[in-house]
């Protein structure tokens, strides 16, 4: 079996947010929905202070509480481990949003803004929003798909997933620090498995949530 997964080497991240923007343009997510934010936080006291970066996205959990909670069946886990949101099926209950430990789901409100914390009340017209209205169903939830359309395109056209830019998630392709690696977690020889092996295994965010994420981290601060 294939289980697609992403390894993020947080120690290498330079906090440039290229991933954040590449994801937005690839997926034309609603203007203020960020599937791939980079979390920042300060550490230490002057003069020994610094800023840390942590790129996050959907974990494509094996035991995905969002899928469990979803009444409509809009959220499903594919055989290759990718958790997909079918916006046409979604009823907009937002149960998934309360169930996901990571904040990885985004509700596209009718107004054209998104229900994330502190979203501005007024919608700002923009190209991505124009696309978003074409690409996304209002009143439904959308999320990171691991760029499943790219993976599927790659598989159909014999391109190496995780290597060829058209067969690799947009956030991985763009990352100048190459701290994101995408591949098959089930294949011990894959790029991701090898990287995890070299770094003594991966870590999960919110391990207490026990969701068995496919997005794994090394070099967490």
């Amino acid at each position: 079996m294939t289980r697609w997964g992403m390894v993020i080497d947080a120690a290498r991240c330079v906090g440039c947010q290229a991933c954040t923007v590449a994801c937005k343009t690839e997926n034309q997510s609603p203007l203020d929905a960020w599937y791939a934010p980079v979390i920042e936080w300060e550490e230490g006291e002057f003069p020994d202070a610094t800023l840390n970066y942590l790129p996050v996205l959907c974990n494509h959990c094996e035991d995905a509480p969002c899928v469990t909670a979803c009444p409509s069946g809009a959220l499903t886990r594919r055989d290759d481990g990718i958790v997909m949101a079918d916006e046409d099926v979604c009823i907009g209950s937002r149960a998934c949003m309360t169930a996901c430990p990571y904040g990885a789901l985004h509700f596209f409100e009718d107004r054209g803004t998104v229900a994330v914390e502190g979203a501005p009340a007024e919608a700002v017209p923009s190209v991505p929003e124009r696309y978003a209205h074409q690409r996304h169903v209002r009143g439904a939830v959308s999320k990171c798909t691991y760029c499943a359309h790219k993976i599927d395109f790659g598989l159909e056209n014999g391109l190496e997933v995780g290597v060829h830019p058209l067969a690799t998630p947009a956030c991985v392709v763009t990352c100048p620090a190459e701290c994101r690696i995408f591949g098959d977690l089930d294949d011990p020889d894959s790029n991701v498995s090898q990287y995890l092996a070299e770094h003594g295994g991966g870590e999960a965010l919110r391990p207490d949530a026990k969701t068995l994420p496919s997005t794994q981290y090394v070099g967490l601060p």
């Binding site: 330079v14 906090g15 440039c16 923007v21 300060e42 190209v127 395109f153 830019p165």
Partner: protein, 866 residues
């Protein structure tokens, strides 16, 4: 037409990709842009075959297509009907025809050229397109000596380019991202996605991150300092003291320097007399060195044992090698003295010097492509943080000592140069520099514009323009004097003022200084034309506006020619229209692909085509059969075709550019690391400054104007800037830094990027240390007002953070615009700047960007809009 659109194969997901170049910032990454079924660009990828950015793009590049559908794009020539100009004034635009617009501008050009071509002011920050060859030919064709990279000139690389040309024959330099193991950022953001070479270096550093130690000396924990292993906070404007303290440690305490390099590749051994000048050979006039065995010898006599230290008697004259002069000079910069100036602890000064020196691996070599080369994996990066200050040139002269002392220039691990002067020679690269009679690197020509080096200094004379170029013999820019002359015309006897301005791709109203100061300057110019994509703050000041294409609609060959040294491949490529602009262009029947088409039309209408053709032949180093006939009238496409063939080979003309467009090549080892392969020397002791000062003083005395010449000195010093002696309540410094996901003022109206930075509140905030905040009763999130000692004010949201020096208020980016699409509550740092004699460096033309200021909470009831 078909070919203009470029090769594109269809619109399925895998198709529809067009290779082009991103020109949002000067990194000029290679990109693939995707066009969907609706002929809309919906995605940008890094070009995976491009060795410059190896398939990566930054946040800005990813979001770049957003501007194509900007609702505020200009689509037709416009004329102003409201004679009033200024911030907030409606220009009353009415559409006019291209003919009318072009004829009018050409008429102004004609008249001005007849009077004095130097009264044309062409403002543009297009130099980084390396269409410098085109742009430079256009200004040369008009009879101007160069153009103004206006805003950049005021506080960008003022102490960078000349210094680098002097010691490295380069316009820009960057740490070697592959071989460097110790990188000291001094007021620069190398290593994060700010600065230059970002995609390439971020990638390379990431691969070997754990083996590289990066240290950022910065008043603020900038994005680069956050990425670094260590952040060394420093009081703004005091870096020279720290650097000279390190130099003192290296030479006088640790004895770490590359003696071989200093002897053979610099002027460190040249003997200096008590008057500060070289001692010269009576016969040849060459500078002398002291040979341990044979006494005084001309520097080029093949002496193996030139002394670096000691005091010698040369025919009764006391003489010291330049190196000894330096060693003596820096002795006063003890760590404790440095600490008192910089707030950097004395122990840190010692440690940084030792770390740097030890990491330099002096004496070690490395084999690259079978050739043994010096290995100097310690280096520095510096930019605006050192440059944008009073005494800027002294900062530059200080910082270059560090890589020079260890021989870390254009060798593996060192500072790698990007010699832009080689435009037009991509196929036969030569890195050797012409040596002056004194054996020193002397590259007079920088880029395409009115940009000059440090050495050899240019002759001085009466100023011919408001930029007072003739009184700035060592500066790369004089732009800030235009503002000073506009504000205080009597100060320097009112040098000639521009009669007209053409503005293209430079938002000087927003990026150059206080808006009202720039506004007054522009209002004084009788005629202003702008070529613009959207109404920017500066466009709104024009009399006539011409529409420009978006960069994804553009056809500009050779936007990028990678000439930088270092162990990567060469690349040359350009921009091509990913989509065809729907805007009608200046030439009937020709698709509109580049503003250069406007320039050719203007040159034709002003009868200046022959001059352009000649200039282009020279600047682009055109050979037969590609040279332009002086009397010929060439279309833009024809010129591009010839230029491409001339540069990359006969099979690489326009068709190739449009169908493929990426040229790459391996470098020879000489091209990778040129320093060991050429003789021209770098400078440790800038002897030329002694006479430059004398000449300049003579000139200004004749002119009867005041001028500061104190900083023309052969060895650098730290001197206090205007904000150093602060007094309450303005006892803080306000500073500014760039953010990775914005480029200058250019991207602030990109809705994706601005939404993202709004989420972080980047451009609206001022960073305040908790101690400072507490002392002033400021809490995190408060609305505060910054007030400078000059009485200038900005409101901001307080970000109370440990990431900033307690004496500093840090602002970010170049925000606070007022044209459509601006977010009104951003901080406009430039509005806080002072354009006055105290804040200008008279050697480099830099403006001090560390301003004395106070901050306090805004009393309730005020600023309610936020």
């Amino acid at each position: 037409m078909e070919t203009v659109l470029g090769a594109r194969t269809g619109t399925a997901y895998g198709d529809g990709w067009v290779r082009s170049a991103c020109t949002i910032c000067m990194n000029r990454c290679g990109i693939l842009a995707h066009v969907n079924e609706d002929e809309v660009v919906d995605k940008i990828l890094g070009d995976p075959e491009n060795p410059h950015n190896h398939g990566r793009t930054c946040a800005k590049g990813d979001a770049g297509f957003e501007g194509l559908t900007d609702p505020d794009r200009i689509t037709t020539p416009l004329r102003r009907t409201n004679p009033d100009k200024g911030v907030g004034v409606d220009p009353g635009w009415v559409p006019i025809s291209w003919d009318e617009a072009l004829d009018e501008i050409a008429g102004h050009l004609r008249d001005t050229i007849a009077d004095d071509p130097e009264k044309i002011l062409y403002t543009s920050f297009d130099i980084y397109h390396l269409r410098g060859a085109l742009a430079a030919s256009w200004v040369t064709g008009l009879g101007m000596p160069g153009y103004s990279t206006w805003s950049a000139a005021i506080f960008c690389g003022n102490n960078v380019h000349g210094i680098l040309y002097m010691n490295q024959n380069a316009f820009e330099s960057n740490p070697d991202p592959i071989y460097s193991r110790y990188i000291l950022n001094f007021g620069a953001q190398f290593g994060s996605v700010v600065h230059y070479d970002t995609m390439h270096s971020t990638h390379e550093l990431s691969v070997r991150r754990s083996d590289v130690r990066m240290v950022s000396v910065d008043p603020v924990c900038s994005s680069a300092a956050a990425v670094a292993d260590e952040w060394v906070p420093i009081r703004p404007g005091t870096d020279a003291a720290l650097i000279l303290g390190m130099v003192d440690q290296l030479i006088n305490e640790l004895g770490i320097y590359d003696a071989e390099f200093l002897k053979n590749s610099t002027n460190a051994a040249y003997l200096v007399g008590t008057d500060g000048r070289y001692l010269r050979d009576a016969g040849t006039g060459k500078p002398l060195v002291w040979d341990e065995d044979n006494g005084p010898q001309p520097f080029d006599a093949g002496t193996a044992n030139a002394a670096l230290t000691g005091v010698y008697d040369v025919d009764g004259a006391e003489a010291r090698p330049g190196f000894q002069m330096l060693a003596d000079h820096v002795r006063s910069y003890t760590p404790e003295y440095v600490e008192s100036i910089t707030t950097v602890p004395a122990a840190t000064v010692r440690r940084l010097a030792r770390e740097f020196g030890e990491a330099a691996c002096i004496g070690e070599t490395i084999t690259v492509d079978g050739v043994e080369l010096p290995y100097r994996p310690a280096t520095v990066a510096w930019y605006r943080g050192l440059s944008a200050h009073k005494h800027s040139m002294l900062n530059g002269m200080a910082i270059i000592l560090l890589p020079t002392l260890i021989g870390g220039i254009d060798v593996p691990g060192g500072l790698l140069g990007d010699p832009w002067g080689l435009i037009g020679k991509v196929k036969d690269l030569e890195y050797t520099s012409k040596a002056s009679d004194d054996g020193l690197i002397s590259q007079g020509f920088i880029g395409g514009g009115r940009v000059g080096g440090l050495y050899p200094p240019r002759p001085t004379g009466p100023p011919r323009t408001t930029e007072m170029w003739e009184l700035l013999p060592c500066a790369p820019y004089g732009t800030v004097f235009s503002l000073l002359n506009s504000e205080q015309p009597e100060l320097f006897g009112a040098p000639p003022f521009p009669s007209m301005m053409i503005n293209f791709q430079s938002n000087m109203m927003k990026s150059s200084g206080p808006p009202e100061v720039v506004e007054r300057f522009i209002k004084r110019i009788p005629f202003v034309a702008a070529i613009a994509r959207r109404f920017e703050e500066t466009t709104l000041m024009a009399d006539i506006v011409l529409p420009d294409v978006h960069y994804l609609e553009r056809m500009t060959p050779l936007v990028y020619q990678h000439l930088a040294s270092g162990d990567s491949r060469h690349a040359a490529y350009g921009a091509k229209p990913v989509v065809q602009s729907s805007i009608e262009g200046p030439v009937a029947g020709e698709p509109y692909v580049d503003a250069m088409q406007i320039y050719l039309e203007l040159l034709r209408r002003a009868d200046r085509l022959p001059q352009f053709n000649e200039a282009f032949n020279n600047i682009a180093k055109m050979r037969e059969p590609y040279r332009l006939d002086l009397d010929g009238r060439y279309s833009y496409f024809e010129i591009c075709d010839r230029w491409l063939r001339n540069t990359l080979g006969d099979d690489k003309g326009l068709d190739w550019h449009l169908s493929d467009g990426l040229w790459t090549a391996d470098k020879t080892v000489e091209q990778k690391f040129p320093r060991p392969f050429f003789d021209a020397r770098a400078q440790v002791y800038c002897e030329f400054m002694v006479d430059t000062k004398v000449n300049l003083e003579h000139t200004v005395e004749e002119l009867g104007i005041p001028w500061e010449t104190d900083d023309y000195q052969p060895l650098p010093d730290w001197k206090p800037g205007p904000a150093y002696e602060r007094s309450a309540p303005h006892d803080l410094f306000v500073t500014n830094m760039k953010v990775p996901n914005h480029a200058l003022s250019h991207t602030h109206k990109n809705s994706i990027l601005s939404t993202l930075s709004n989420r972080h509140n980047d451009l609206k905030s001022v960073w305040i240390n908790p101690k400072t905040a507490e002392a002033r009763g400021i809490s995190h999130g408060d609305l505060v007002e910054i007030e400078t000692s000059g009485g200038r004010k900005q409101t901001a949201t307080a970000r109370v953070t440990q990431l900033v020096h307690p004496e500093v208020l840090a602002t970010q980016g170049c925000g606070g615009g007022w044209s459509s699409g601006s977010s009104g509550d951003e901080v406009n740092f430039n509005a806080l700047l002072n354009i006055d004699v105290e804040h200008i460096d008279f050697v480099s033309g830099a403006l001090d960007c560390a301003i004395a200021a106070d901050v306090r909470t805004v009393p309730a009831g005020r600023g309610g809009a936020r």
